[in-house]
């Protein structure tokens, strides 16, 4: 296990290094770094000063070294728009995105697993077919359009829920969260549902396929022959066995939820880092874009690493293969 963990860790560091090279190439070699990192409204003296500070007059490998040092010490330049360090701006917005992503995942799990189980146990009934038809629709509907329609129905037509923003927040350990106030929950429902829809469909399909496969196994037949009540067969024998792939997918999809939050946040004006990215792109606030990029890459590599380790802990077969 330790061997595997260390190897996987080394892999992650290597990926991080490659990604930093790619980002660097994107910003410094393809684009013009003077345009990207220096405020277009800056005067001559300021431009010269920034060029010197970022080392843009040095050779390329030296620039990369300065870039790396900056990235590791959290100095990614100041936002043109807000005039505070870009990285601070990202961290300020991160809790909102994480809250949205976790809430969406929670909705997907709480609804997806029971629905998938139901569809898997009764694949030919109208309810099973209905659930599957719904999941196909959930896969095909573009997230942003569903968001618009949710706003149209629940906010504009029915007037039940607010359209934009985060509502009242409460500080927990200095981090503002929405889900502890009634107003916050009301603001959270629509965006979280919107973001959850795709993952919900995915979980339904995954659970259904796993259930159908598990129901044909000998251990299910044996449990039934032994006289175990059907509800126990499902809970103890079927559900436990299909949970491992589900846990993995849930973990891996968390990263993609954070990425897709960009869309949902834009539709619902949710003040997370995805909305920040789009706003920054629109006003060409490039240090923030670069900072977002590095943060999200780091986050992804971290999540992938975590899921791999968790999976290994859950399923010993993987560990044995990895140790070889």
């Amino acid at each position: 296990m330790l061997n595997f963990t260390l190897r996987r860790l080394a892999q992650s560091v290597a990926t991080l290094f490659v990604m930093s090279l790619l980002v660097f190439t994107g910003v410094y070699a393809i684009g013009n770094p003077v345009d990207i990192l220096i405020n277009p409204q800056a005067d001559q003296a300021e431009i010269a000063q920034t060029i010197a500070r970022l080392g843009l007059d040095r050779p390329l490998w030296e620039q990369y070294w300065i870039f790396l040092k900056g990235a590791f010490s959290g100095d990614l330049g100041k936002s043109f728009a807000a005039s505070i360090p870009a990285i601070e701006l990202i961290f300020e917005r991160m809790p909102a995105t994480l809250e949205l992503a976790f809430m969406a995942m929670l909705i997907a799990i709480v609804l997806g697993i029971p629905l998938g189980l139901l569809a898997g146990l009764k694949p030919d009934s109208w309810i099973g077919r209905g659930i599957m038809a719904g999941s196909i629709l959930g896969f095909s509907l573009p997230t942003f359009w569903v968001g618009l329609m949710l706003i149209m129905v629940f906010s504009v037509q029915l007037g039940w829920l607010p359209t934009t923003g985060r509502g009242a927040t409460v500080d927990v350990f200095g981090i503002p969260v929405s889900f502890l106030t009634w107003d916050g929950i009301r603001h959270l429902i629509l965006p979280a549902t919107n973001l959850a829809l795709f993952k919900l469909s995915l979980l339904i399909r995954l659970t259904r396929a796993g259930t159908r496969e598990a129901m044909l196994q000998d251990y299910v037949r044996y449990a039934r022959a032994k006289g175990v009540p059907e509800s126990n067969v499902v809970r103890v024998h079927v559900l436990r066995n299909i949970l491992i792939p589900i846990v993995t997918v849930v973990g891996l999809e968390l990263g993609s939820l954070i990425a897709f939050a960009v869309v949902t946040e834009t539709v619902f004006a949710w003040p997370g880092m995805g909305k920040l990215l789009i706003d920054s792109i629109n006003v060409l606030d490039r240090p923030v874009i670069v900072a977002y990029l590095l943060v999200i890459v780091f986050l992804f590599i971290f999540i992938n690493l975590l899921v791999d380790l968790l999976y290994t802990a859950l399923d010993p077969r993987v560990r044995l293969k990895g140790a070889r």
Binding site: L137, S140, P142, V262, V263, T266
Partner: protein
Amino acid sequence: MNATLSPGREFATGFARDRIALGAFWILCLLLLAAVAAPWLTPQNPYDLAQLDILDAKLAPGAKAATGYTHWLGTDDQGRDMTSAILYGLRISLGVGVLSTVAALGLGLVIGLVSARAGGWIDALIMRIVDLQLSFPAILVALILLALTGQGVDKIIIALIVVQWAYYARTVRGAALVELRREYVDAAVCAGYSGARILFRHVLPNVLPPLIVVATVQVAHAIALEATLSFLGLGMPITSPSLGLLIANGYTHLLSGKYWISFFPGIALLVTIVAINLVGDQLRDVLNPRLK
């Protein structure tokens, strides 16, 4: 035309067995036809400003314009007939989706074949790049690319190619590795054919059919991704309004209850994506020898 052993007739009956898929196929044909023939089908060219009348702006669906023409799907804030705008948008969406998928398929094919054939460190390097890219969601890769390069039709097509090629490259490499061990390849080598000829004339036709099926479904993904990026303001420029851009345009009017500017382009997008998915699924089932 059909590269599998089954004749076209058998394929057609196999495909038509599923009524829903057949219906989806006809809807898709209709959509393609409507998109291609948009200039002749629509009452106005929605992007010819001379044909627009600002007095007709934001008419509800079914309302009559000053000219006496009925706008069945309403008009947008410029007085543009939504039916016309949707057909022109469909054209751009389908065009971008198909073009980028075909280009990505071609690129992935060549890279995958070369990777399988070359082996060694070249193969390892290419596959690491593929792994790395596939560990990030497509939308994120496209967003980052467009954030760095700026927007434009060419740039969004490049972004869509970049997010798709890796998937094909990995699939082709896997299939080609199997094919390269077959006897007909040995026979071709004995016949003294060059490596490139064997790869592209002999191996390629054998790995292509399953890939085309995958590509069908990928067109739907590409269209959805392009629409999303356009909605975020990073995709198509205002001069080539795809369905995504039409929806984004209606977003501001949604809150005042003028739902149709966003709603109908969304329905068009949804029908297109669902139809392509259903046809793709059925294609996969019919062409999959394991299900026969």
